[in-house]
């Protein structure tokens, strides 16, 4: 018997309309856990570097995390994996909500889609009954609208629906997959779903999920719940309110937006408005949110209330969480009322709330500076907000300039030419980032931004405080009950971190310390992504209930796989390396690992080189960021090293200089 997982994947060949239930190998679970780990294994095995995002050979995998569907609090994430149209690399965007546990209860760990359906369809999974159904009546419908129509037509109010909107159907490179209160938004995975002709995947399950050692497992769950109660009752002093508690940043709850509005950039990520926040705005925005917000809501089996139901007067109700609250507002230099209104439309269209406003602001900046002209925007309204609605429609319909903008700022700038490149200034690996422009280089953030492959800083950062605390007493108080550290040395790193002087940024934390910190942060996110645990109760907040010391016990007693910290650390390293290997095989090299030029005003090129060198070394990667033969073999990834040697990505002498040149060739 399999525990925590079901031991079955659904394999759907959309071209032929074939459906298979395939048993999985328990050995893979032991090596790659589940979720992202086993998704990555499938991607490596079955999607070669020649396969493009919109090739029928590209896979689109919906993977439920290993512990999804067990009683482990907050374990509800679906990890969607495919080749991204935006980056050409592996996209592994995720969503919380209710979909992954429902899939488990239906009896499956993953849905693996391949090929392309000749017409628009939706997939209906109800325990053993799996059907490919016509979706021509849903063409052009909004993502939430689609979910509600399907639930009515199949008379299953408890079904969970992951759907795309018009943006996905029209293959907008930053189209999302929406699931009511959650979405998998990064990397254009919605476009791949649209390209495959799949409007929605509908799941209803009424089967059991077993755990291996019941009493022990529930004991761990109870400890986590007790810890959450205690932690929520004692917010961390000295950090901003959205970081003091657990969960995703509590954007739906918190009204004070002084920090975001005055520190994050407005428009096309250029303008800082230092004195923006005042009493009048605070009052107005508070009223807007309070009158729009019907209820704070949660994902499956989680007490945190990171999302909200939003009903703007005159508009259909939708659900929102986290920072999309402000991205449209700030992209358009507008107010919260506008931001919440346009987000309703964008959610139905199924668009990434980080990239979309920035693409629109980018277009208007190009217009302002004469690189694009009025003729590129026929019929565009004169008012600011009207222009954003106009652009939103053009992009989603891929009409006129919208067709170019629908590929994101990186590709649009290439097509537009005339120096438009300089306006696509806020990208890493061709993907729009949060609009942050800071003054002093932060070495920890430098490494996370540079080497992250998830393309989103909030899914890389966490655990370690974002900045030093001013007083030593505060720091001592902070480390006193810091049980989550994998090693006591992290406490000392933090204790000695000062705002000014010798032990301040950029030279402190030192290169070696920075590598340790980033490695820990990254590892926790990767563990979450395999187990299906939300970062909001684990890798993102300070002092979370899940950590490296209790995770092995959850896995042992839940999935029945003997696990300790060392084995878990190695497993996480294994599939993290596999993710990198997939991207290396697709041409990713050191030259791609660059935060935006203007991310910090004060840059330190030499230090940055050193950081990257040392981090690569620590990870067992060569100077191009490619895992070495030795490190691959240590992780049992001999099949990767064999492939790299055969392709000349690595040579047996591990001289990678020739591979850089060949990678450049591949990319051009």
């Amino acid at each position: 018997m399999r525990y925590a997982e079901t031991g079955f994947n659904l394999e759907i060949d959309l071209t032929r309309g074939n459906i298979e239930k395939v048993a999985t190998d328990p050995k893979d679970t032991e090596l790659y856990l589940g979720g992202l780990g086993t998704n990555a294994k499938l991607m490596w095995d079955r999607v070669g570097p020649e396969v493009e995002a919109f090739s029928p050979e590209n896979l689109l995998i919906f993977g439920a995390g290993l512990l999804c569907g067990t009683p482990a609090t907050g374990c509800n994430r679906t990890i969607v994996t495919t080749i991204s149209p935006q980056t050409g690399l592996l996209a592994f965007s995720m969503m919380g909500g209710f979909w992954a546990p429902e899939l488990k209860y239906a009896g499956y760990d993953k849905v693996v889609l391949r090929g392309k359906s000749p017409k628009l369809i939706y997939l209906l999974i109800h325990n053993d009954k799996v059907e490919i159904r016509d979706a021509s009546h849903l063409k052009g419908k909004g993502s939430i609208e689609t979910a509600e129509i399907i639930k009515r037509e199949i008379n299953e109010p408890k079904a969970q629906v992951a759907a795309i909107g018009l943006a996905g159907e029209n293959r907008v490179y930053y189209a999302s997959i929406e699931q009511g209160r959650s979405s998998a938004s990064r990397g254009g995975i919605g476009a791949v779903m649209g390209d495959k002709g799949v409007k929605a995947i509908v799941v209803r399950g009424t089967r059991d999920i077993n755990v291996a050692r019941p009493a022990e497992f529930i004991g761990l769950c109870n400890e986590v719940l007790e810890y959450i109660k205690q932690r929520e009752g004692n917010p961390i002093p000295g950090v901003m309110p959205i970081l003091a508690g657990l969960g995703s940043p509590q954007e739906m709850k918190v009204h004070d937006e002084k920090w975001h509005t005055e520190n994050f950039m407005w428009g096309n990520s250029r303008t800082r408005r230092k004195d923006f926040w005042n009493d009048e705005i605070a009052k107005e925005w508070t009223e807007t949110l309070e009158s729009a917000r019907t209820r704070l809501i949660s994902c499956f089996n989680c007490p945190m209330k990171c999302g909200a139901t939003i009903s703007m007067p005159g508009l259909p109700t939708y659900m929102m969480k986290c920072f999309t609250k402000l991205t449209y507002t700030m992209g358009a230099f507008s107010d919260l009322d506008f931001g919440l209104r346009i987000a309703q439309k964008a959610t139905e269209y199924g668009l990434d709330g980080f990239s979309t406003p920035q693409v629109m602001a980018f277009a208007l900046e190009l217009l302002e500076d004469g690189i694009l002209s009025d003729e590129d925007f026929p019929g565009m309204p004169a008012d600011n907000e009207g222009r954003f609605y106009y652009l939103l429609d053009k992009i989603v319909l891929r009409e006129g300039i919208g067709d170019i903008l629908a590929d994101g700022t990186y590709w649009a700038a290439k097509k537009i030419g005339k120096g438009a490149d300089a306006y696509a200034h806020n990208n890493i690996k061709k993907t729009e980032q949060l609009p942050l422009k800071l003054s002093m280089l932060n070495p920890i953030y430098f490494l996370m931004y540079a080497t992250g492959e998830k393309m989103n800083i909030t899914q890389i950062e966490g655990q370690f405080p974002q900045a030093p605390f001013p007083e030593r007493e505060q720091r001592e108080q902070f480390v006193a009950d810091w049980i989550q550290v994998p090693d006591e040395k992290f406490k000392q790193y933090f204790l000695d971190w000062e705002i000014r002087g010798e032990n301040s940024m950029p030279n402190y934390p030192t290169v070696a310390m920075t590598c340790d910190i980033v490695d820990w942060q990254e590892m926790m996110h990767y563990i979450d992504d395999a187990l299906g645990q939300c970062a909001g109760l684990s890798s993102f907040p300070l002092k979370p209930p899940y950590h490296i010391h209790n995770y092995p016990k959850f896995i042992s007693s839940g999935a029945g796989i003997e696990m300790d910290e060392e084995k878990l650390t190695k497993a996480a390293r294994r599939y993290r390396t596999l993710v990198r290997a997939i991207n290396n095989r697709r041409g990713m090299r050191r030259s791609d690992e660059k935060p935006p030029e203007d991310h910090w005003k004060k840059r330190f090129p030499e230090l940055e080189e050193r950081l990257l060198n040392e981090y690569y070394k620590m990870k067992g990667w060569n100077d191009q960021g490619i895992p070495t033969v030795e490190s691959l073999r240590n992780l049992g990834l001999d099949y990767v090293s064999d492939d790299f040697l055969a392709r000349g990505i690595l040579s047996s002498s591990e001289d990678a200089s020739s591979s850089e040149a060949s990678a450049e060739k591949e990319k051009n």
Binding site: G69, T73, E148, P214, L225, R295, C302, K305
Partner: protein, 180 residues
């Protein structure tokens, strides 16, 4: 006529449900099905839970309902409530395991499920313990009840049967039942 009986105390167990506090996470369904699994906690499946969230996020409807009595037949009529402008679906507040709906039946056998207030669990019902948002709050209180014997209830019942079927057929029925 009422015959006065002895005074006795009885424990009333209540789960106070605050629908405004419910965040719709369904942790109650998870832990309920887990604690009632055999062996205990060995599996979970919200479709076996004895508590259900009647839930429609877009209409802001979140009603935790505990499984009550099994009923062989559905009601002659159904209720539909509108509270604070929100229209609740038919049977939203009903606790019955009833032929009219899927709730509170074992998914495989269709056998009825009923909340037992986690009898024997230390600290009361598990759904309450796992509801950190306090939409579910457990309360026990003692009440004094008088044991009453009300013989006239039987007579009222019999009289209505006599009126309906006639005295003779009632006597015949009773004697037939007595001989079984």
């Amino acid at each position: 006529m009422t015959v006065k009986g002895d005074k006795k105390t009885k424990i009333i167990k209540t789960i106070n449900i605050d629908v405004d506090k419910c965040n719709g996470c369904r942790a109650c369904e998870v832990i309920c099905s887990s604690v009632h699994a055999a062996p205990k906690f060995s599996s979970n499946n919200p479709a076996r839970s004895r508590i259900r969230i009647i839930r429609d996020p877009f209409r802001d409807i979140y009603v935790p309902v505990l499984a009550g009595e099994y009923t062989v037949a559905e009601c002659a009529g159904r209720d539909k409530y509108v509270i604070d402008g929100k229209e609740y679906d038919e049977c939203s507040f009903c606790r019955a395991s009833c032929p009219s709906r899927e709730e509170f039946k074992e998914p495989d056998s269709g056998l009825p499920l009923k909340c037992d207030m986690c009898e024997g669990e230390e600290g009361g019902p598990m759904c309450v313990k796992w509801c950190l948002v306090e939409a579910l709050v457990y309360e026990e209180r003692e009440v004094e009840v008088e044991e009453e014997d009300r013989p006239e209830d039987l007579e009222i019942g019999l009289e209505s049967l006599v009126n309906r079927y006639g005295l003779q057929s009632l006597i015949d029925s009773v004697s037939r039942m007595a001989n079984k």
